[in-house]
């Protein structure tokens, strides 16, 4: 299957209002409409690397939305390979740039902006952690590459043979790469298929979003992440004593 262009993808999600999204160096910012309401859009496309400047541009747009469009939902599209390993970026404190972007999103959440993520392409590692995974509710296209890393990459670092990881991933979806196994862990609320009316899905996602983080509950219910919720509850019970 040929990968749709970024523009075609925006049109699928936002219809004609997608023209309000500008793309510069694969970083996107703008305003569009979903379910008849104005939404703020931030994100990445083309599997780009996200660096200090990109984080600042996304943060600036979130601030603009808070200032000028009170309570407008913020839709985050994720198609990024992560942070490019770079010494100067590290020296300048890339982690702090990401932390700043997260703080802006947190402020938006507190001020009543709903935060919805749609993983559209690559949603891996740091690039997913630095904004997409911070949403109220996270969705993914079934064609998206969602997860920590493919088993080949995991094998290269851990020195565990690919065959072993593949076999284990059959019973441990955490080791498998992709939108569906990620949903089994609760990391994604719902996976959207190519045939789905994603405009309607997005409108519904915005309407039903809640700021309560439900990922551990979902992961337990779906069986992909069986321990997290119970351990968390144990800590909350032990600390209440």
């Amino acid at each position: 299957m040929k990968k749709p262009s970024a523009r075609a993808l925006f049109a699928r999600l936002f219809g004609s209002s997608a023209k309000g999204i500008s793309v510069e160096k694969s970083v996107l910012t703008g305003y569009a409409a979903a379910g008849g309401t104005k939404v703020c859009v931030i994100g990445t496309c083309d599997g780009t690397y996200i660096d200090n400047a990109a984080a600042l541009r996304l943060a600036a747009h979130v601030i603009d939305c808070i200032e000028h469009h009170p309570k407008a939902p913020i839709v985050m599209l994720v198609d990024s390979a992560g942070q490019e390993p770079n010494r100067v970026a590290e020296m300048l404190g890339l982690a702090s740039y990401f932390g700043h972007l997260l703080s802006c999103l947190e402020l938006a959440r507190r001020k009543g902006h709903k935060l919805i993520t749609v993983a559209t392409g690559q949603a891996v590692g740091g690039a997913f952690l630095c904004y997409g995974m911070f949403a109220d509710r996270i969705y993914a296209l079934d064609s998206a590459s969602v997860g920590l890393m493919p088993v080949e990459a995991m094998s290269a670092v851990t020195k565990i043979p690919v065959a072993v990881l593949r076999k284990l991933s059959k019973t441990m979806p955490s080791l498998e790469f992709g939108a569906k196994p990620f949903a089994l862990l609760g990391g994604v609320e719902e996976v959207w298929a190519a045939k789905d009316d994603v405009q309607a899905k997005l409108a519904k996602a915005i309407a039903t979003a809640s700021t309560e983080d439900n990922r551990a509950e979902l992961g337990r219910k779906r069986g992909g992440r069986k321990l997290a919720l119970d351990i968390r509850k144990k800590v909350l019970a032990a600390s209440a004593r």
């Binding site: 982690a95 590692g125 952690l129 862990l185 997290a228 351990i231 144990k234 032990a238």
Partner: protein, 292 residues
Amino acid sequence: MTGTSLFHEQTARQRIAALVDPRSFAEMLPPPERLTSPYLAQLGIPVSFDDGVVIGKAKLGGKEIYIAAQVGQFVGGAVGEIHGAKLTGLFKAAARDQVPCVLIIESGGVRLHEGSAGEIAIAETMRAIFECRAKKVPTIAVIATDIGAYGGIGILSTCCDFRVMTEHGRLGISGPIVIEKWMGKKAYDSANRALVWKTSGGKTKYLLGDADALVHDSADAIRDAVAKLLGKSSAITLTSVKTRQKELEKRLKRFGDTADPDAVWKAMGVRDIAGASLASGPEFAAMAKRGK
């Protein structure tokens, strides 16, 4: 009294004991509960009864705190499902009880052997940290070892109100070996310890304003710094994020094309580079005109 022992040489439990009021620490989900990673077990890798993080309640200067210390000796302090859930639970408890939370970080980030579960756990812990911050419950990260705060945990550390560092501590996302592989040895020689520490070490982080305190490598010094921050919190407001946006834009504009960390130090007011390199954390802090 902790004598002259160096904080970075201590174990996680020693660090907590040395930091908090004597005999005040009560560990939650302690090793006898045998909460071990099923992922590591399946892979035939040794497990640990605390899954690499010690959590509990304690007092510091008579004030109640929640505290966690990651165990760097165990898979580099990396975050798996259980490890991460313990952290999420701790910050959620801190938010619920409005008790400050101190996180002694020693972690390379997500535990790769557990795949995406560790990544989601870090995202959940970030949300829990911001729950604390919404209630003005102080969250303080201590970064004091060479394992430092990297990957997702590097990002997570920047979500806390404050960061206390020592000169040994390192804060970043990609580590030097990964960058060297990517950019080549010419751009980043990961064996050049001076360059590595000037890139990600406590001194540079303090100088640029990403660490809020730079202190001696001892529990006493770290305790003093943490105690000073326990009553404070860093509010997230429209004004605060706009100010931070300007600071970070200015930093990128000033130093975005600067490959040499010495040039950054000089521009930030460090006159004697050789002296500053050898100076202790607090001496360095006194020498440097810390700028925004």
